[in-house]
């Protein structure tokens, strides 16, 4: 990894590479139809095609019910699409695997395990020796800011702390892609901001590919290289916007940056328009 320049403005990373070899996830004409008890089937996703470049931070932004989480679950292999296919490095995704690590809004920690036990779980499952897994896990716990809480049970932790553990637990088994499903959606505003900052710091160190589902415009613009805007009923991709802002990003600088403000305002306007056109139908 190259050294991070002292001043962020000196370093503008190319947002996407044109090299086709760097594609990591390809979503090809994916549709998802849920059978409902009422007359009509619910079309959660309609004909979605999307390519994610390696080491990019991509947000999927959309109103609730637009199927953005479903799309993430399809990439995770937790849900099979009704039609179409998703590929990871050219291989069709048929189920979950340690190359794609999820972080859920609900944290989904193992409550019977301590913080350390949770973080060690993945590496142990992969056959890493206990002493080694423990050393790595302790380092990760420190990285997410929970040093001293190794022997606490999830029940003893606040929501923000739980999500830190969940992030460390997923990072521990070195997935190539992080799948984040509204990870900060259940947190209060202050905690959410802190976790966004910390996630960005952690991510800017090793730049894993991240697919990040959110319904917050600020969050998407602040974190991402690319924002995929979705509309609902049926869930479609409305627009893909490259966020051309320098990294490493600092919140206090970014909030004052007119380019950041323009992205936020533009995206919000697009949402309002789609709401109106939706209402007119």
């Amino acid at each position: 990894m190259t050294a991070v320049p002292a001043r962020s403005s000196e370093w503008v990373r190319p947002v996407t590479s044109k090299d086709p070899a760097s594609k990591i996830i390809e979503i090809d004409r994916v549709s998802q139809v849920f059978q409902t008890s009422t007359r009509r089937d619910h079309v959660a996703l309609s004909d979605i095609s999307l390519t994610i470049e390696e080491r990019a931070f991509v947000s999927i932004l959309g109103p609730s019910g637009c199927g953005k989480s479903t799309l993430l679950y399809i990439v995770g292999g937790f849900v099979s699409p009704t039609s179409g296919a998703a590929k990871m490095k050219g291989q069709a995704i048929t189920g979950p695997g340690p190359d794609r690590g999820p972080v859920f809004q609900e944290f989904a920690l193992f409550p019977w395990k301590t913080v350390l036990g949770n973080v060690m779980y993945g590496p142990r499952q992969q056959g890493v020796r206990a002493t080694e897994a423990e050393a790595q896990s302790r380092a990760l716990i420190e990285m997410v800011g929970l040093k001293g809480f190794e022997n606490f049970y999830p029940k003893e932790l606040s929501g923000g702390m739980k999500q830190r553990v969940a992030l460390a637990r997923t990072l521990a088994y070195h997935p190539e892609v992080l799948l984040m499903d509204e990870p900060f959606g259940a947190l209060d505003a202050h905690t959410r901001t802190r976790l966004q900052n910390d996630l960005l710091n952690i991510w800017e160190r090793d730049r894993k590919t991240v697919l990040f589902v959110t319904h917050s415009v600020d969050e998407a613009v602040f974190l991402s290289d690319k924002v995929v805007m979705m509309s609902k009923s049926p869930g479609r991709i409305r627009e893909v916007i490259d966020i051309d802002l320098p990294r490493p990003r600092r919140r206090n600088e970014l909030l004052l940056d007119p380019r950041y403000q323009k992205y936020v305002v533009d995206i919000e306007r697009m949402f309002d328009e789609s709401d109106e056109s939706g209402a007119a139908l």
Partner: protein
Amino acid sequence: MMSPAALTRRAAPVLACIGLLAVWQVASLALKNDSFPTAIEAIRAIPDILGDKESLINILASLRRMALGFGVAVLVSIPLGLLMGRSRGVAAFFNPLLMVIYPVPKAALMPIIMLWLGVGDITKTLVIFLGVSLPVIYHSFEGAKAVEEKMLWSGAAMGLSPTHRLVRIVLPAALPEILTGCRTGLVLALITMITSEMIARQAGAGNILFNALDMGQYDTVFAMIIVVGAMGICLDAIFERVRARLVRWSEPQFDMPLSFS
């Protein structure tokens, strides 16, 4: 030095027992009924029972059957309940069967089972097994059903196979609920143990009780009731200790999140 609150908490069960015995004593003296001995008479008869080798053998035989019935029931019911909780097909198959068996008093099946298997240990153990199974299956089922899907997904992403997920995620996650079922099962094991011995009168703690009843030895009858009650309390206390250890992570005293993001 214990705090007054802790002292009260410790003393409360003892006080309750003494209160119960006192009420019994007074009621018995007031009623003056031959078939209702006083608490003191009943307590005096306890050493006779526990000092008698044959009675002890009987009681131990009862406990052995109970342990066997309970143990086998738990070993069979937990996996079945967990499978039902995670597979709609398995649940759809077993649920109606259990619905039919649940309301039937297991002791009512005794005469039929006796016809098939005789009056020996197998019949009684089987009845205990049936009595324990249903609450354990039911609670394991509910516990497994309530396991968060995302927790299983997290495990799947780490590479856990479906079987591993059942054993290493569903089982521990459902453990508090499963143990609630086991606790109910333990009490039911004691009840079915006594009733089975009441119906198949041959040996056991229930046999001592009902023989004494036939012979009009009411102090022995009540002494046995105390003994059975004490056994229940002891078993429950032991079980509760084990349970608390196993599911310490889910206990309410841990329910105070730290205020730190």
